[in-house]
Structures are given as structure tokens and as C-alpha cells.
């Protein structure tokens, strides 16, 4: 077994995702060791995109489980299709089937609605399972998840135990709104994603917007990098940079100095709260533009 993270890095680049060495290594390890990978980092650094890109690079399905407060085992494993079950009961009544037969029938795989976790382990080839924002779910759910992630089997009382057909590649993301348990952390490999540095962000911008002019791209990236150093409530992420770049190309900007008024108006792509918008008035924007142009 040769751990070729450079190869994976190149594959990810091919599908338009720029991963640095640390992230490529983390993903390669997760695949090689078959262990879940826990990704942490500020909102907007591209945690969710990692899973999408990994699925694309491996040529496999992405199954996503979005966590929220109150999420429980039923919503993530399986649910019976109650409406169909009720209809079937009526239909079989007319056919004169016995109770046992009806029961066998309506608790069969046909009436089972697979939710992400069950779906992920019943694929013929391993999919990428993205468990997004695990920190939003309750602690009880975290414990349940640990069990699934170590056994990879699900027991349904009416159907019996369903073992995994393939072990999915699991990526968990967390924004740090709640401290995760040590047990979960120890079960997972860990990687922290920071905002990209200038070179990486430029590479991302080029990969996503191939048509963008070289000089403008450089200015945009440097501007955003400087903006992140200001005290903001919500620092602009990569998605914001890309939005802003598309907006500027749409406005026919060739350089950031072109049109200060339009530039100021376009900052709504980067700054998403009222306080942040107010903290970057025209003078501040002009100062930043002065530094990058």
C-alpha cells in the first residue's frame, strides 16, 4: 500500500478543487485507513466542498446528511412509508389476506424509505458520506453516530440487521458551535482548514473562473486577503471571493481602481452583515484598493 497523496491532490485539482498538502494527506489517510475525517474551520473555507470534490475525484456518489438540532436516529437511518403502508393494509383487506401475511408484506424493503446513513452503507461501491455541521446535532446523536461509524451495520426490528455492503468514506464537518466529544474526536482523523493563502486562493479563483483576467484576479485575491485582516463579524470565505469576482467581471472591471462607486456597491458580495458593511466605508475600501492596485 503506497500512500500517494500527491496523486489524490492532482485528482482533486482535475475536478476543480485546490487542496493543500495537509488536506490532501488527510483525505488520503482517511481513504487508506478507512477512518472518518473530521474537518474543522471557519464558515466559508470550503469544508463542504471537500466532500463534493472527493466524490467527484473518486468517481463515486456523494450522500449528504445535514445535521440540525433535534435530528434523531429515525431521520438519519430509515422511516417506513406510512401512507403506502396504510393503503396496502386496506387493499389486502379486500384480498382477504391474514394478519401475518399483511404484516410480512408491509414491513418489507419495498416500504422502507432509506435515509442518508442507511443509504450510505447499502451502496454497492463505497460512496462519500458527508455529515455536515455535526456540531449542530445533539450530543445524543453524536453517540449514536459513533456506534454506526464503528459497526457499519443497522438493525431494523422488522427486517433484521443490515450489514454494510461497502464502507463509505466519511467526512464530518464542524463549525465549532459546540465542543465535540473526545470519543468522536479520537475515532476520527483530524484536519483544520484555514482561509487559503494568497497563492492558493488565486489558484482556486483561476480554476473556478478560467476566463478572469490575470491582473484583476490578483487584485481581487489580495483585496480579500487584506479584508480578512480587518476586524469583521463574519470574514469573507472562498465562496464570497468567487461571487465577488463574478460580479466584478460582470460589471466589466479590468482593475479594482476602475469605478470606486460600483466597487463599494459590489462589496455586498463579501460583507454579509450590516455592521461589517458599515465598518468598510468608501475610505477604507479605497485604502485597501490602494494597497493592492
Amino acid at each position: 500500500m503506497k500512500l500517494d497523496y500527491k496523486h489524490l491532490q492532482a485528482d482533486l485539482r482535475r475536478v476543480g478543487y485546490i487542496a493543500d498538502d495537509a488536506l490532501a494527506m488527510a483525505l488520503a489517510l482517511a481513504i487508506a485507513l478507512k477512518r472518518p475525517l473530521l474537518l474543522e474551520g471557519e464558515a466559508g473555507v470550503g469544508k463542504t466542498d471537500v466532500a463534493k470534490a472527493l466524490a467527484a475525484a473518486l468517481g463515486t456518489r456523494l450522500i449528504r446528511l445535514q445535521c440540525y438540532e433535534g435530528l434523531d436516529a429515525n431521520a438519519t437511518l430509515y422511516e417506513w412509508n406510512y401512507q403506502r403502508q396504510l393503503l396496502a393494509i386496506r387493499a389486502h383487506e379486500r384480498d382477504g389476506l391474514s394478519g401475518d401475511e399483511v404484516e410480512r408484506h408491509i414491513f418489507s424493503a419495498d416500504y422502507l424509505l432509506r435515509r442518508p446513513l442507511l443509504d450510505a452503507i447499502s451502496q454497492p461501491s463505497p460512496p462519500v458520506l458527508l455529515i455536515d455541521e455535526i456540531d449542530r446535532a445533539d450530543e445524543e446523536f453524536e453517540a449514536f453516530l459513533l456506534e454506526i461509524l464503528s459497526d457499519f451495520q443497522v438493525t431494523i426490528p422488522e427486517l433484521g440487521t443490515i450489514a454494510a455492503q461497502s464502507i463509505p468514506y466519511v467526512v464530518l464537518t464542524s463549525n465549532g458551535t459546540r465542543a465535540l466529544s473526545d470519543a468522536l474526536r479520537r475515532r476520527c482523523l483530524y484536519s483544520y482548514l484555514d482561509f487559503p493563502d494568497e497563492a492558493k486562493e488565486l489558484a482556486i479563483l483561476r480554476a473556478r473562473l478560467p476566463g478572469i483576467e490575470h491582473r484583476l484576479a490578483e487584485q481581487i485575491v489580495r483585496f480579500v486577503q487584506l479584508l480578512r485582516r480587518e476586524t469583521l463579524e463574519k470574514k469573507p470565505g472562498i465562496a464570497e471571493t468567487l461571487d465577488w469576482a463574478s460580479a466584478l467581471t460582470g460589471l466589466d472591471f479590468r482593475s479594482l481602481v476602475d469605478d470606486p462607486t460600483a466597487l463599494q456597491a459590489s462589496l455586498i458580495c463579501l460583507l454579509k452583515t450590516e455592521a461589517d458593511l458599515k465598518s468598510v466605508p468608501a475610505e477604507v475600501a479605497a485604502r485597501l484598493v490602494g494597497k493592492v492596485a
Binding site: 500512500l3 494527506m25 489517510l29 433535534g70 435530528l71 434523531d72 396504510l86 394478519g99 458551535t177
Partner: protein, 397 residues
Amino acid sequence: MSPAPAPPAASGPAVRLRGFMAHLRLNGFTVGPGETEAALAFLAAGDLDDAAASRLALKTMLSGDRGQWERFDALFDAYWYGTGVKRARPAAVKGGARAAAPRPEIWSKALPPEARGEAAGPMARADSETGDDTLPAGTGRLVASRQEALQRTDLRLLASAEEAEEAERIAERLARALRYRLSRRRLPARRGDVVDLRRSIRRNLSKGGEPLELLQKRRPEHPVNLVLLLDVSGSMMLYSRYLVSFVRGLLGGAIRAEAFVFHTRLVQISDVLRERDRLRAMDRLSLMVEGFGGGTRIAGALKQFNERYARETLNSRSVTIIMSDGYDTDPPAALAAELAMLKRRTRRLIWLNPLLGWRDYAPVARAMAAALPYIDGFATAHSLASLAALEAELRRV
């Protein structure tokens, strides 16, 4: 082949790696024999050809959170190359004016890393965080009223045993009263608000499938979690003696709670107060909070809380209680900004102000006036009786 990059000693790589694990453990990593084995097996397989790749792989396998992720490289260098952390530490200490004073050993265990950095001396702190212009320690030394009173105050002398016990009992009762709050997740219940289809269909099969008996589910009650911020500055001295006991009672175990004290800076005290022996707890607390009785920087302390602790201690079930008289040396606007931030993260924000118990008191202190718009509950805390009366106020979470 040698799996580890340039082991300095001639001993086997396994021994060296075990040493590295011990080194990580000493620095707060949670790595056990399982991790050692996995790392060794992985390195022995010889998948990686250079030191940089091995380092990245070990970093991914062994760190568990952001702090460890960021410290790993320095620790790695310190162990395998004998550089970095080891040498950096004495240099940082030399810069600090107060660093020469010996600290009780308790500091190293009880304080969060940030406060430990501060203990190394204000100079070292200023050096390391030049980017931050609102340093509590850096600015505090210039103004007389902000000076930290460095003498230790013995809390054991402040509170009479009965008073303290009474305060603890009241707090424990309160904690039990606060214990539950509604959750969004539904569980089976005899009388609920939603039909539980899964169980209903199962149950009614025996009656030919006709849904005659409907089973229901409802939201169970979920425990709240309390965050307590206690002002221990000079002006609060009279009250902090039983408020500390009160906080200790709330931490007693009935609910999840975290406690902090602040005057010119913020210190987490949950672990110290959970010590079973009350006198010993107070003793350790006095050691930790050396500046007891100094000036107040409420906004600065809240800023520290928002930046460092808010994320992990607050959730949608949190009730935050600030206990302070509202006399602040920070500008009121700063306090309002921090409270606004805090308010967004917590379900309910309650301010207990002992002065409210005085006759004819109106919250005219500028800080208090600025704070009022963000507060859900404003109550007094000037006596044990008033604390007992809080139960009704807090129940409406």
C-alpha cells in the same frame, strides 16, 4: 528503513515514537496506546518517503482539535529536531517583568492557556499579541482605577460557614428547578401533540391494520445549561462572598453549568469550584484570582468570553447570568457591543445586580443603562432571600 525522520538517538524507532507520544501527552494531547500502535504500524509500512509527509500524516492522525492542530508542528520540531518550543519558552519568560515571581503550581493546571500566557508577564503577552489593540492587561496598568489589586483576598474569611452553606442550598434548589426545557426532538408519550405513525401502524396491525388506536409523541424536556459570569471587583466585594457560594451550588451537578469570574480579566473557575471540599475550593480560588477586589472592565471581560469561550459553552439551551453592579471602566458602547454579541448566542441573558436591592436605586450607571436593552431579566442579588426569589424568574426559560 527508518520510519521517523532523523531520530537523534540510536534507540529503535518504536521507542522514539513512544517517547514522542509521551511528549504529546504532556502537552495535552489525548493519545493512548491505540494511537501509538496505529502510528507505528502506519510508519512501519513505509508508505511515505519524506519527513514532511510523515509529519503531515502524524498531524492528521494524532491531533484532535484546532489547538492541537496548531501546536503540533512546534511540538514535532521540539521532539525530533530539538528546536522550537523548548527554546522559545525561556526566552518568552525573560521578557516578562512579573515573571520572576514564583507562581503556585496550581496556575499551570487550573488556568486556560491564555491566562497562563498572561501569567508569564504582561510584556510577554504584549509581544505575542501585538495585533490585538484591546489587551486587558496591557491597558489596565496605566489607569489607577483599573489597577489590579495584587494582594490575595482570602474568601474563607469573607463568608461565614452558615451563610455560604445557605447560599449553596438555594443555588442547588434553583439548579433543579431550571433543569428542563423543551427540546425539538420528539419521544413517545402517552399524551403528545403529534401522532407517532411508526408505532401506531405497528400496534394496530393486530386489529386488522385499521388505525384505531393512535400513539403519540411529544417533545421531551431537555436540561438547560447555565453560564455564570461573576464580577469580583472591589465594588462587588460585599456580595461576592456569598455569590461565589451561590455559583458553587449551581455547579453542583443538577445541571450543566460553567462559571467564570472577572474583574480586569476573565478566569474560568468551574473546575476549581467543583472541588468537593468547600474550604479547599475557596483556597484554590483565592490563589487563582489574585486580583480580587481590583477595578472592573466588564466589556473587556465579556469580549474575552465572547472570543474564547462563547462558542463551546453556549448553545440554544443556555441561560447566561451576569452578576455585577455595572460599574465599568470601559466605555458603555463597548459593553453594549459585547452584550449584543452575547445575546445572539444565548437563549436568555439575565443580569443580577445587588444594587437593585437598595431603596431608590435606578440603573443610572452608564454601563448599566447601556446594557439594559440586551437583558431579558434584571433582578437583584443583594441578599440570600433575594437569591431564593430568583427561582420564579428563572423558571420562565
